[in-house]
Amino acid sequence: MKFLSRQEELLLLSILRLGENAYGVPIRRHVSDVTDKYWSIGAIYDVLDRLARKGLVSTITGEPEKKRGGKSKRFYRITKQGVRALEEVRELQQKTWIDISVPSLKNR
């Protein structure tokens, strides 16, 4: 099985963290905050669509809201497969980083 990409991992984790409120706007805000980079909505949805296609997240469409120009929110929930995939990358991370110390750049 393929491992998750960094972007996928990032998105999955933010969906987990946001819980009930995981839809486009907060996901994007959170990812932007964590990475300290600008994420366009297109970039977010690109990854979200991929996750949905792989079955790592499921989607629930909410009621249309007047505040959003009559558009509904699409909420994301992480699936069992999604959790498993996250665990896999964490294990991998821990295994590969064990006993490794990267020389700090500040000391040079």
Partner: protein, 598 residues
Amino acid sequence: MPHKRLIPPPLAARLLKMTASSGDYDSAFGDLIETFEYIAEKEGHKKARRWFWKEVLKSLSGFIKNRTHRSAAMIKNYVKIALRNISRNKIFTLINTLGLAVGMACFILITLWIQDEMSYDKFHANKDDLYLLTVIHPDSVMDPNVPYALAPRLADEIPEIVHFTRIYSLGSMRTCTFKYQPSQGMPVMHYETSVDLVDSSFFNMFSFPFVYGNAETAFRDSHSLVITNRIAAKYFGRDNPMGKTLTLNNQEDLVVSGVIDIPSNSHLQMDFIAPLSERLNNDWNWRDPSYVLLEGKSSLSDVREKIEGALSRHSPYPFADTLKIDMLPLTKVHLSFGRRMYVYIFSVIAVFILLIACINYMNLATAGSANRVREVGMRKVMGAKRHELIQQFLGESILMSAVGFGLSLILVRIGLPLINSFTAKQLDFSLLYKHSMYLYLLGLILIVGLVSGLYPAFFLSSNRPAVTLKTSSPFRSKRSSFRVVTVVGQFAVSVLLISCTAVVFQQLDFIQKRPLGFSLDHVVKVPINPVLMNRFQSYKNDLLQNTNILNVTAGQADPYDEDYKTSGVEWKGRTRRCPLTSDIASCSPIIWRPLGWR
């Protein structure tokens, strides 16, 4: 700003809607609006708008990429492979495209010719109400000439006829000379053959464009003369010809009252037009055409019924009851009398030539596809669907067809002067610069591309990858019967066209070289005017003074000219069932004996 509803820039929103795939769109758009309003509240409307635009533009590439990424990459690959194939088989490609180009050039040239043939006499404002009077002979031969006395009688009888005009061809009856004496310098004098007298309503019926003067003043008095601008240049150079005097046969002074330009697609071609002064109302001679203008809304069948028996009612001819008078719409005159068949024949030939070019491309493309078969096998292994391969090959053939079209335009440009001198037409390259023509030519490219590419596309994409990649020779040993059929068909059509051409050439050769029973060698024909004709004997004696002249004779018409028609020829054993219209020429054996003719 609570009282003012904030909306994102509509254009940007629209752009997003167009590019986003449907699933993404709703929630993504909702997210955008939510964030937009958040920013607008916090940092102002202006900033929010700018953000919205930036966001849309940034997302665009993602959305578009998502949608078309795969096909865009494939198209790039197709183009690359196509270019590689072209550069690998330069001569092969050249032959192939040249074949298409020649076929298309022929097709375009024939199209131009047919278009010109169809456009005859359509420039007249009254084109739908103008008719040529015709006589239908018992063997249903249509005669475009009617007796001079007929048209005025019909106009008296039938109220639907608004105007009529007869054409009295003076130039074919006797020799005409025109002389122009400028105020200083030498007179200009020429023999002219295209001199016609017409009824005064002529210019009210036909709308020939006037260069000088106009339709109302053209025939103001009986000495008026309307000439074409070619004739104006011949006699007057660059001077204004209006009001200048031309002397006809050294007798009659005619004053130029108008200069017209007769388009080449007019079946009426005349150089000098003068008003017909005689009424000719009892002249049942039968040499020239007459035209009538009907009232706009008159019923054609009613008029037809009324004129049908006019000849037997009025004319003195005893055989008139076998002849019917009919009308032919002006716009059909040019294509009647045998020409319509040429248009049909050439249309068929054009399609055949195009078909040959397509089949040629088809066969070359399938035959020279040894490497392509491997490519197809490889593509299939990599997961290409059959319809994608078909698209690829069709795209290639349409590309080739477009290149061939470009070359064919060059060929048309080169070929047009030749065609013009051959068909005596003035076709111009600029006839292609028309909106309807653009569409037609685009259709030509697509149809040629599709027809020639369809079979190769299906043939190549049908190969099974395992077979093509495994065997050393990718050709299937089985002969394609389709290809055999097309090759045979192609050769059959080619042989047909070539042999037809050969037959026509031999016929022309035969007509020109077969002994006629009389010799035209060393015979000179000189048109002379009536004055000289009256003193012919002394003229002859003068000529015979010259030892190079062996003999001199004169006559009314050439014996080999077909001038008159009759269906009144009778001979022993002739039955009514065998009607025949034959040509007659006036001649007498005494006149032609001096030339050694029998």
